[in-house]
Structure formats: structure tokens, C-alpha cells
């Protein structure tokens, strides 16, 4: 452990006004992007105005034009990000990026420094989480640089059965890896400010012991060599406060996750390269798979709650973007480095899980509006990053309103008499004009913007000799076409869900509809119930469109049809069977499926003996009381009470647990009990001394039987 005085001093960060080479490049690239997007949007909007029968001559049409301007600009922005990324990759990478500016020799010569690898968790699947951290640890051992790294599992879990299992898994993992004194576990009993509070709590206790902190998510996997390179990059660039990698999705099994994984691996490189080329040293932080300069972070990135009302009050839910902007305000650079390899995460397995995550992100991103508008001295690029995040969700209700307005416009034309004099005192009639060929042209150009980057991605795969990674050209092309169909089916479902989340967030309420899917695969009953509002809306809208005008019906079909079939889409995509079948056929194939990945192989080998003896047949609480070694582990991590009323309550709980078992205690009571060191010790001793007919006597007999069965098998 190093003290504050021994900790190497961080060089002074650069001022925003300091001339560094990338700033000029960033200015030129951003100006070019703005020019392209604005021009493209203005031209498209003028077409749109011409397409509308009254050319913007009434309020509905004005609304359509205004929304079209915003939405087209949003699509155009995405399109040009993809094109920028394609060009950068064709040129062999960005010479202004952190990696692009170093030679391998210079980088390898950088000495490593004390680094904490931290994984904040909250009720995560234990086998996957601890298995993942074990795989990362072993990978670091293989680099020969493990002595520079410590690992911290930072738990916010609330249910005693969860955190007791975590503590047991931590002990077993320490034993398995020989990582005692290097792999640590800390649980907060007070979960203030969610994940950002968890990280801040770590920094307050141990932040001064480390120069860097690498943050992992519960489903993150990172190769040891990548972690070493990240530290070396930070060492070589003392002005860098945060270095974010671009995580690749892996380990997908369901149809939904495999589609997401394929899209991420094919299109991801283009878009992240494009984004990184525009952000340069004013990038964003995605909350995990990133390295952070701890002292700078502690100095500048403390998050206060928002000071507004409703949504804009209290803790910031999506902390990462805000922390990146504060780091920028502190004079440090934030880099996204897409060329750092072997940085992985996983996709949610089902659409339901994906939308559940989006619900949190929607609220978090909308909160950024407050930061974007009122937080002083943030860099303009970071304000734009907030806007980008906000638009990711706000675009959905805007699309929905756009569709509503176009339906009103179509209905007016069919149902109401034509108004030749929309201007009250005009002498000249205004003849409504309808140019279907212009409308088709406009729709085609929108589709072009949406889909061209996908085909650029295919060219990029071919150019970088990665075609065989994806099963050959035919399978690659087929997979891309299938992915386009799936994403087209999902887009309206997402639009409706995101619109609901935005509305809920802005009104600061929760509009409950049906229950959350708790199984791995989505059940039919859940899907039908969950998607019912969208299905009814889609069917109603489609029927109305058909009644109004068959041509309008055909226009509405991609959206209405997707909504009508939302339930079967959701169920089918959640299935693991079709996902596996397509994998066998080489559809949606990714390199890790074809060639394997040491990290993934390590994870899937399941070599970590977590909770396998005496087996998951017993609850973690029963194991904590019965297992002689685990009981001591939990005792060490528990507290000693000093008496008083709380102690009296705990003594009563102890008796109840002994006589009737832990199932008779509430979660809160159990939490009190198993956090008390003396109670754990007492219960352990009493359980082993209990008669064979008692609760614990029977539990011990089951334990013996289970161990016997395990040995026999």
C-alpha cells in the first residue's frame, strides 16, 4: 500500500485553450460534419415542404416540417458518423488518436503503475460475475504484470441470500486464483447514489492508493494485455483523464442477443471510429471497460444531486457522461479508443430485458438536459454529447408525433373539403398539390441514409479481410439482410416503448403495464400482455389507414405491421433454440464463435469452484451457518454489535432462526442477523450441536447426504 506522499504526482492538466494538435483537427471535422448535416437536412426539408399538399400552409404541415427537420438531421448525423468512420478506417486509423500517436516501442517502454480493477455489482448472476472477474484475473497473470493490479468487487446487493453467496464466491475465487490480498470484496450497507455512489465510496476509502482505476461491468470481460496497454497509454499521456474502450458484444445465445452481437461487431467499428474521430480528446465515458486517472476523477468528478424539480431532482442516474464532462471541465482529456482490442460485454438476452435497460437509460439521459443547460464551464463538445444522448430517446416520441401528424394530414385530405383559401385575406386560391414521386424520392433518400452505412460496413469487413470471420461473403450478406429485417421489425416497438419512457420520465411517473418477464426466454402470455397496447395501436392505425386510402395503408405498413406482430417477434427473438440453429448454419457469425476466445473459453469452462459443495440445494444463509469455513468467512466480514435495543432484537432473531430456520425471518430480519458476527458464530455452534430431529439437525443430514451423492457421482 502506498501513502499519499509516495503517490506519484499527476502532471497538471492542460487548459482548454492550450494548443494541442488534435484540437484543430477536431474543429475542422466538426465544422465539416455540421455543414454536411445542415445542408443535407435543409435540402431534404425543402423537398418535404414541396411534397406536402399545402407546402406548409397550415399548422399540421408546419408541425410536420419542423419535426422532419429535427428527425432528418438526427438521421443525417448518424449517417455521416458512419461515413467518417469508414473513411478513417480506410485510411488505416486516426493519426490523432491516442494509439495513433504512439509507437509500440514507446508504449511498451512505459512503466506500469498501481491500478485497481473495480467491478460494481448489484444483484448480478454470481457465477457469471465472479467467473468473469476470474477470467480477467487469470489473463492478467499471463501477462506477468499482475503485481501492479488489485481487484475490487464492490457490492451494493441488498438481499442477504445474494450477498452471502457473493461473499462465499469471493472466498472460493480467492482460493482458486491464489488471489488473497489482491482480490477484495466490499459491500455497502447504504446504497446512496447507485453505481456512481458505489464507485465514489471506493475512491474515498482506497482511491488514494491507486493511480488508475479500471471500471468493469458485471458482464465485462477484458484481456490482460489490453488492461496493461491501457495503463501504459495513461502513463504516456498524463493529460488523459479517462480512456474508454469500445466493448464488443460476445457470448450471445438467444436470437435477439445474437442479432445485437452481429450488428455490434459489423457496424460497431465504423460508428465508434467515426464518433472517436469527431470527439477526439473530448470523448465520453460509458461507465465501464474504461480506465480513469483516480486523482483527477476524485478532484473533479464528484456528483451532486440535481437541483431542479421532478425528473431534474436528486441523484443523476446516468453518471458516466456527466463524469466525462466534469473531467473535461477539470482540464483533462477523455478519449474513446476503438482500436484497443479484446474489450467485451454482453447483450441483454431478450427484447424485454433490452427495453428494461432502456427505461433506466432514457430517464438518465433526459436528466442530462439539466446538466447540459445549467452546468457551468462544460466544454461545448460535451454539451453536444449530452444532446446526442437525449436525442437517442427523444427521437422516438418525435417520430410518433410525426406519424400522428401525417395521419391527420392524410385524413384531412380525404375527409374534409379542400380549403382553397388557407390565408384569410388572400385573393388567389391555393391549389393542393400532391407529388407522390417526390414523396417516394424523399423516402428513398431517408432509407439510403439509414442503410448505406450498413453496406459500407460490409465493404469494411471485406477490406479488412474479416469476411471469413463471419462465415464467408454469402452468409455475411444474408446475415446483414436478416439483421436489417429484424431491426426494421424492432424499430417501431422501440419507438413506442421509448416514447412511453420519455413521457414517464418527463411526468416523473411510472405508467405500469403488465409484469416484467422473469424467465430467460419471453413467455407468450407475457409477450402478448406486454405488447398489447402497441399491437392494438398498430392494428387500429393500419385499419384506419386502409379505410382512409389504400395507398396510405401501404405507407403505414412497415410501422403498423411491426407493431401488430410485436408479441411473436418478442417471443421468437428471445428463443435460444433458433439462435443456436442459426449459429450452426453460420448466420450472424462472429469471430469468437468461429475461432474461440481465451477469455470466453475460460469463462465457459466454469473452472471456478463457486458454491458447488455442498451445492445450490441449500440457501446461502443455511450454508453460511453450516459450513465451518464459510461461516468464518462471513464472521470476518460481519460486525460486532455493542448491545442496546438492536442487540436485544438480534438475540430474539437468533433464537427464532435456530428453532424454526431462516425461512421464518423477513429479508430485513435476516439481514440484521447475518451481519452480526456473534450470531453467526452462535448459530453455527448450535446448529452442529443440535439434535437430529431439529431443523438444523435435518439440514445437516441433508448436507451429508448431498456430499455423499456428490462423491458417489
Amino acid at each position: 500500500m502506498i501513502s499519499d506522499t509516495e503517490c506519484p504526482k499527476v502532471k497538471q492538466p492542460i487548459s482548454a485553450k492550450t494548443q494541442v494538435p488534435w484540437r484543430r483537427a477536431a474543429w475542422i471535422r466538426r465544422a465539416l460534419l455540421t455543414t454536411l448535416v445542415l445542408n443535407q437536412t435543409l435540402i431534404a426539408t425543402s423537398y418535404m415542404t414541396a411534397v406536402l399538399p399545402y407546402h406548409g400552409g397550415n399548422l399540421v404541415e408546419l408541425g410536420i416540417i419542423a419535426l422532419f427537420f429535427v428527425l432528418f438531421a438526427w438521421i443525417s448525423f448518424g449517417f455521416w458518423i458512419g461515413v467518417f468512420g469508414f473513411v478513417i478506417r480506410c485510411l488505416g486509423g486516426d493519426r490523432f488518436s491516442l494509439l495513433g500517436r504512439q509507437t509500440a516501442a514507446k508504449l511498451n517502454a512505459q512503466p506500469l503503475s498501481r491500478t485497481a480493477v473495480v467491478m460494481p455489482i448489484y444483484h448480478e448472476p454470481i457465477h457469471r460475475t465472479f467467473g468473469g472477474i476470474g477470467a480477467v484475473y487469470r489473463s492478467l497473470v499471463q501477462t506477468g504484470q499482475i503485481e501492479h493490479f488489485d481487484f475490487y468487487i464492490l457490492s451494493d446487493s441488498r438481499h442477504p441470500d445474494v450477498w452471502l453467496a457473493e461473499q462465499a464466491a469471493w472466498y472460493r475465487l480467492c482460493q482458486d486464483l491464489g488471489a488473497g490480498g489482491r482480490l477484495f470484496y466490499r459491500r455497502r450497507t447504504l446504497n446512496q447514489h447507485y453505481k456512481s455512489g458505489n464507485i465514489s465510496d471506493f475512491l474515498r476509502r482506497w482511491g488514494r492508493s491507486y493511480d488508475y482505476m479500471i471500471v468493469l461491468d458485471a458482464d465485462s470481460l477484458m484481456d490482460g494485455s489490453t488492461l496493461v496497454k491501457m495503463v501504459q497509454l495513461m502513463q504516456a499521456n498524463p493529460q488523459t483523464g479517462i480512456l474508454q474502450t469500445s466493448p464488443t458484444l460476445i457470448n450471445a445465445h438467444s436470437m435477439f442477443a445474437r442479432v445485437q452481437q452481429f450488428a455490434n461487431q459489423i457496424y460497431g467499428p465504423l460508428f465508434t471510429a467515426g464518433l472517436a474521430s469527431l470527439q477526439l480528446g473530448e470523448g465520453v465515458y460509458w461507465g465501464h471497460n474504461a480506465i480513469i486517472r483516480t486523482r483527477a476523477f476524485m478532484q473533479h468528478c464528484g456528483l451532486k444531486g440535481l437541483g431542479g424539480r421532478g425528473l431534474f431532482q436528486g441523484p443523476i442516474l446516468s453518471h458516466d457522461f456527466v463524469e466525462a464532462s466534469f473531467m473535461g471541465r477539470g482540464g483533462y482529456e477523455v478519449w474513446l479508443e476503438p482500436d484497443l482490442p479484446h474489450s467485451y460485454e454482453e447483450s441483454p438476452p431478450t427484447l424485454v430485458d433490452d427495453l428494461q435497460r432502456d427505461k433506466r437509460w432514457a430517464k438518465g439521459n433526459l436528466q442530462h438536459l439539466w446538466v447540459m443547460l445549467f452546468e457551468p464551464r462544460l466544454r461545448p463538445a460535451h454539451r453536444m454529447a449530452f444532446l446526442n444522448g437525449i436525442m437517442s430517446y427523444l427521437a422516438s416520441p418525435l417520430w410518433l408525433i410525426f406519424l400522428i401528424l401525417t395521419t391527420i394530414e392524410a385524413a384531412r385530405l380525404v375527409l374534409f373539403p379542400i380549403n382553397y383559401f388557407p390565408e384569410p385575406h388572400s385573393l388567389f386560391p391555393l391549389w393542393p398539390e400532391w407529388n407522390p414521386e417526390w414523396a417516394i424520392g424523399l423516402a428513398s433518400s431517408t432509407l439510403f441514409l439509414l442503410f448505406l452505412p450498413k453496406f459500407l460496413a460490409i465493404i469494411d469487413v471485406m477490406r479488412s479481410h474479416r469476411v471469413k470471420h463471419h462465415g464467408g461473403f454469402i452468409r455475411l450478406l444474408f446475415s446483414v439482410i436478416l439483421e436489417i429485417i429484424v431491426s426494421t421489425l424492432l424499430a417501431p416497438i422501440r419507438m413506442l416503448a421509448h416514447s412511453r419512457y420519455v413521457l414517464e420520465s418527463l411526468l416523473n411517473v411510472t405508467l405500469r403495464w403488465a409484469g416484467q418477464n422473469r424467465t430467460d426466454e419471453t413467455r407468450w402470455s407475457d409477450a402478448i400482455l406486454n405488447q398489447a397496447p402497441g399491437t392494438l395501436l398498430g392494428a387500429g392505425w393500419g385499419a384506419f389507414a386502409f379505410w382512409l386510402d389504400p395507398m396510405f395503408f401501404y405507407w403505414s405498413l412497415p410501422v403498423a405491421g411491426s407493431l401488430v406482430f410485436a408479441a411473436p417477434t418478442s417471443v421468437f427473438l428471445s428463443r435460444v433454440g433458433p439462435g443456436k440453429r442459426l449459429r450452426r448454419w453460420g448466420v450472424f457469425q462472429v469471430p469468437e464463435e468461429r475461432f474461440g476466445s481465451p477469455l470466453l473459453d475460460d469463462l465457459q469452462a466454469g473452472s471456478i469452484p463457486l458454491l458447488d459443495v455442498p451445492g445450490r440445494k441449500f440457501s446461502p444463509t443455511v450454508q453460511a451457518i453450516l459450513d465451518p469455513v464459510l461461516n468464518r468467512v462471513h464472521q470476518v466480514m460481519a460486525h460486532a454489535h455493542r448491545g442496546g435495543k438492536k442487540q436485544e432484537m438480534i438475540l430474539a432473531l437468533r433464537e427464532r432462526c435456530f428453532h424454526h430456520g431462516p425461512e421464518t425471518l423477513t429479508q430485513k430480519e435476516l439481514s440484521y442477523l447475518v451481519r452480526d458476527r456473534a450470531s453467526l458464530q452462535w448459530l453455527h455452534a448450535q446448529a452442529w450441536r443440535s439434535s437430529t430431529k431439529s431443523y438444523w439437525g435435518r439440514a445437516l443430514q441433508q448436507r451429508f447426504q448431498h456430499r455423499h451423492d456428490l462423491t458417489a457421482s
Binding site: M1, Y152, Y185, R205, W206, F326, P628, R632, Q701
Partner: protein, 84 residues
Amino acid sequence: MDRSLAEQALTRVCDYLSAMGVELTREVSLHALKLIEAGLASEPEDPLHFIMTRLDECFPLQNPDLPSAYPQIIRGSMGYDAHD
């Protein structure tokens, strides 16, 4: 058929000892049997309490070498409003 009290006592003692990392050698087993014999003689109806209470005295049970859950805390603070 229900196992006898002696069988159950022996199973419990052996299970505890092996969980604590004690190798079940001939000597240890004989020692365990003697303890059970003493337990049955002293408390014929429920010898388990007697036996398990004396386990610590009869066998060299060592506390397992546990890793430390976290290192020494070196307090620091988070900076708020650094721009003010």
C-alpha cells in the same frame, strides 16, 4: 431404516473435521470413536451436543487462513464544484 445415533454422530464429526481440513487418518478416526463413546455414555438420548461441544478440545482444529476482505483504508474525498 433410520441410522443409529452412533452412526449419525460419527458422520457429523467426520464431516466437520474434513470441512475444517483435518485429514481423517486412523488415529483421528479412533479419537473420534472415543469421543462418540464418551458422548453415548454421558448423554445416551442426545449425545450430539456433548460430542460437538468437545470437538475443539479433542482435535487440533485450526482456523482457516482467510484472505483479507479489503486492504487498509486510506481516506480521501471527492471533489465537488471544483469550478467554483
